[in-house]
Subunit: 273 residues, 2 copies
């Protein structure tokens, strides 16, 4: 089953466009969990168990595992394995924003699709589509390309004018046409830039999925995101929330609190579909 088919199935089955980001930070994990031998895995497992029927994908953010070294990598792998075995219908997106020359990308693709076994990965566009072939050529996996990012300084290069159109629209155009021959490309468009999200939707047409980070802690507005970005069949968006959900409570009820926050976010998103 391809990533896209798995994603669409989860969107329909759970009636949701919500993706929960798994960004475990030891300093914010409840003490009781922190005392365990694999605290990051235990935390993730509790969040995943509490929200699996509310999401269309889970998205671990590689940085928060790398920071813990080899032990963090082991718990990332353990988390992915747990989701795949327990909730095989929910796709896993690794948010690691990789991107290098082709020979190195072969090793990165091996790491994420082979060793870790995720369904999709976020990627950098700067080296061009040619360099990303080791990802793009794996037809049943998703390649999610940074287009317009959610950070305050995103405009520095992404908004520079190329023949009268901003760089990020050139990225959207090239990756929705030339580099999308396997129909496995998605784009990252930040929730903090709804006007730009609408412009990207204009370029790609209604079929392409966008991963949209930046609602919640980063301040993106769900109503505006939905109005600007929704695609065909009231789908086309994967709306990610991390901190607002996984740290909804810092005490022992964190999993139930995460579930309540996820229900609220899912419903808020669905209100505008």
């Amino acid at each position: 089953v391809s990533f896209i088919a798995k994603l669409v199935n989860a969107v329909e089955t759970n009636n949701t466009l919500l993706c929960v980001g798994l960004d475990p930070d030891l300093s914010r994990i409840p003490e009781q969990i922190r005392a365990k031998s694999a605290p990051v895995f235990e935390f993730n497992k509790a969040i995943v168990d509490a929200t699996h029927d509310l999401v269309c994908a889970f998205k671990p953010n590689s940085a928060f595992y790398e920071r813990l070294g080899a032990d963090g990598e082991a718990q990332l792998k353990q988390t992915i394995k747990y989701i795949k075995e327990t909730y095989p219908d929910i796709p896993v997106i690794l948010d690691s924003k990789r991107g290098d020359v082709e020979s190195t990308n072969l090793a990165y693709a091996d790491a994420v699709f082979g060793y870790l076994g995720v369904d999709a990965v976020t990627l950098q566009p700067y080296l061009g589509g040619e360099a990303l072939e080791p990802f793009l050529s794996v037809g049943d996996k998703g390649s999610i390309i940074l287009c317009k990012t959610s950070n305050p300084g995103a405009s520095e290069f992404q908004d520079l004018a190329i023949d009268g159109e901003p760089m990020y629209l050139r990225v959207a155009r090239n990756f929705s046409t030339t580099w999308n021959t396997n129909n496995n490309v998605l784009l990252v468009v930040g929730a903090t830039y709804p006007a730009e999200l609408a412009a990207v939707r204009q370029i790609t047409g209604p079929d392409m999925y966008f991963l949209v980070p930046g609602v919640g802690a980063q301040g993106g507005d769900i109503a505006e995101v939905m109005k600007a970005g929704l695609g065909k069949d009231k789908r086309g968006l994967i709306v990610n929330s991390s901190r607002n959900i996984i740290y909804a409570s810092d005490s022992n009820n964190f999993a139930e609190a995460a579930r309540q926050a996820a229900i609220k976010t899912r419903d808020e998103i669905n209100k505008y579909r």
Copy 2:
């Protein structure tokens, strides 16, 4: 001691601009090493011991360790620790091309400067300098920003014209001025594009160091690179070679063969200084 001071010292002490890339590939490591319990570390150790007096830096490429999962991460850490303890005057550059929003980059900076303890890291420019603050603000560590990469498809976005100048020159300008208040920024410019290398040198002036991949296996010409890119005091370039050196031989004499290949490359570089 800052990365730049350590680098300049190694350039002078060893009279070299050569950087050896540590890109261990199990399928190319001699059988006798492959049979050991930490083959990647053992391979790297032999290469490092055989070339430490010929280089100004070592550059492990993260992809080749990530591909081996937690075990690869452990051997990356072990390799870095070995270099730091045994050859404390040789800086270590992690080639991992990271780049995300600021809150995530805090975790990445922790991973590379904290946990791994390297002296410098390669970074993506696409999100802009604001997002890279967690790296740039660490004054004694090097932030090496992708500018013009060595791959055949690099021009797709990097050469697009912005107000009559290609994107990669805008990257060079912003990161050599606005984002270089700590004098800890370097740029990546591929050896395969000598004319572009000369243009970047023009923008930055003679003081800035460039990391130059792409000689050897990727086909970049050393004479052209030196003519186009050399900086102040016949320095300013870190010329990386990986495969041509570490895989100079696939039999038990691989370390001695690597040494001979490194001498040859160092001398070839010095010929044009």
